[in-house]
């Protein structure tokens, strides 16, 4: 029972990370029609800048600021210099260019911060663990991560469904040509969306830094899962990204927790280990395949 609750919390925390990364990616894909492989790079830039800020000031608040600002700025620079020229090109060109940005960013971060992975301590306030059920302690940092995910989800919901910018974003996701025809500066909207996506990545980077290794290429590891999330949830919709994150996060956590246990009961040990490790690795892709069979455009796609 405790194991079930603990694994559910772990799933929620992973979902929060995935949501922070996929919310921006789905908007960029849905509204700007750009396949952005460099999305994970903003996450890495945020994490490295946070690590540098913690090392020089010791304050986690400064680190959050550093991560968010640096990732957003870097995102805007990339948008102005490269992405800007790719809106009318086909997806293959975009994949090539953003793959290049990804490699470039890895080299840039190596040059600026060096190859040794830096350390970010868990801030004093969030260290240790609290009792969430009698006899079950859970680390505060992970709870804070879940809290950050909820906070961002509410913030994005407000921004998108209650403000004029959000209205334009929704309209842009549905039909960007009509929005442009109505006299809205679509290029500026694109820049804003891209900057927002990068900013959320930076925030994910600083929140993940105390729990995960801050290292070159950390963004690529999570990028593919992030794409799975937006395909499952439906491209272009933040609600879809939220649902996709929860499904993928939970599937991954429960799969990793319970598939090996079930398999060891069903099969003799010489087969169960290798079969369960393959099934665990494949679980989220099986989920994606099932969703695509039932709903080929994802669960909650943008209207089009």
């Amino acid at each position: 029972m405790y194991m079930l609750v603990e694994q559910a919390m772990n799933g929620l925390q992973y979902s929060a990370l995935l949501f922070l990364l996929s919310a921006g990616l789905t908007l960029i894909f849905g509204i700007m029609n750009v396949v952005n492989l460099a999305h994970g790079s903003f996450y890495m830039v945020g994490a490295f800048c946070a690590a540098a800020a913690v090392a020089s000031t010791g304050s986690f608040l400064v680190a959050i600021l550093a991560a968010v600002v640096s990732a957003c700025l870097y995102g805007l620079v990339v948008e102005r210099l490269v992405i800007n020229r790719l809106y009318q090109r086909d997806h293959l060109d975009q994949v090539l260019a953003t793959l290049g940005i990804m490699l470039f960013t890895n080299a840039l971060v190596t040059l600026v911060f060096g190859r040794s992975p830096p350390f970010v301590a868990i801030p004093e306030l969030l260290s240790g663990s609290v009792q969430i059920l009698p006899g079950l302690n859970y680390p505060v940092m992970r709870l804070a991560f879940i809290g950050a995910g909820v906070f961002v989800a509410i913030g994005l919901w407000y921004l998108i469904s209650r403000t004029k910018v959000g209205m334009l974003v929704r309209a842009g996701a549905d039909d960007s040509e009509i929005v442009e025809a109505l006299g809205i500066n679509i290029r500026r909207l694109f820049m804003l969306v891209f900057g927002l996506g990068a900013l959320l990545c930076g925030f994910a980077g600083v929140m993940a830094a105390p729990l995960l290794a801050v290292e070159i290429g950390m963004g690529e590891k999570v990028l593919i899962t992030t794409f799975v999330v937006i395909v499952v949830g439906g491209v272009g919709s933040v609600r879809g990204a939220l649902l996709g994150s929860l499904l993928v996060g939970m599937t991954d956590s429960f799969g990793r927790a319970f598939i090996p246990i079930w398999m060891s009961k069903l099969l003799p040990p010489e087969y169960s280990d290798s079969i369960s490790s393959s099934l665990v690795s494949a679980s989220i892709y099986i989920l994606m395949a099932v969703v695509l069979l039932v709903k080929p455009r994802g669960l909650i796609p943008a209207q089009r």
């Binding site: 190596t110 190859r115 995960l212 990793r256 290798s274």
Partner: protein
Amino acid sequence: MKQFKKLGVGLALSAAAFIAHAQDPVKIGFIGTLSTPAGYIGEDQRDAFALAIKEGGGKLGGVPVDLIVEDDGLKPGSGKQSAEKMLQEGVRVFTGINFSNVLVAVVPSVVKDGGFYVSLNAGPSNFAGKACSPNFFSVAMQNDSYSDTAAMAANQLGVKKIVIMAPAYQAGRDALTGFKSAYKGEILAEIYTKLDQSDFSVELARIRSLQPDGIFEFLPGGAGINFAKQFANSGLNKTVKMVTPLYSMDDRMLAASGDAGEGFYLSTQWTAAQDNKASKDFVAAFEKEYKRRPTVYAATSYDTARLIGSALKAVNGDVKGKPDEFRAALRKAEFESVRGKFKFGSNQYPIQDWFLVQVVRGADGKLDYKPISGIAKDHTDPYASQCQMDK
């Protein structure tokens, strides 16, 4: 008269060319992993190798050398491509590769063309046994050694119940097989993680429910940092002993894990505290040159450079002309190893001592490796008997 002048100039030129040829530096191909998250490992290996050359004033064993460095990006294909390019350029001596999967792709091309490969880290089982080659030498270890010595250490520490964990790929499975071959207690679970996994909360919850005395994990680099941080954050480190190779908690990882590495038991063949002159000189020179402490990767790379130097000296740099003498000199291993004792077994893999260290807080408040006890003397690998060398 004019003809004579021409002849004179020609003679002078050819003489100059001959002298230049005699002083041509020996090219050493260094294919390392300098990008990807593991880039810090390649950096330490390259820097230690370059340090040995610098200490000799651009020479190894008194022979001028030219180090050609290429990045394999941890891809077997690009490692092989670099090696083939270097072979065409006349490189006969190769080293640098950290990862076994890249190594097994490169070595066959090198030895087929009569080149020599001296491995500074990777020591896969196939080249130690049936596929051994007279032109392949492994200086750091055979891959089984770090896990079977960790198992011996777990036996020594009285760990009765253990959970063992590694990523689901060849080197991970090998590490667990190596561990099982020497462990005497009960293995509660074998956990295979995904190769690119960075969150281990699920595995930690399972470990908590299994209540083992100890954990063995083979997670080098970023994954190991992640695991150590989350292991400490979960509070499990208070009740469960971590017994693992130093490769799962090297100097850089220790620095990147904060306090999380405290209390880890590690099996190793070298730390910077090694008490011999060669090692002390090496650590001091490395720290002076690069302002950081060398890892075990750097140490075995430095040994590799000096081993190659000892063999170059024996043939005065003429590897191509005297390959048999060069090989014989490598086999003798007449160099001062930073590990103290060092010699090759019949399969040209090392015979060396392994010992146990623990991560403890020193007098200066910093975490460091503290020697605890010896694990195995003159430790070798189980594959040597399968190796039949034709030369």
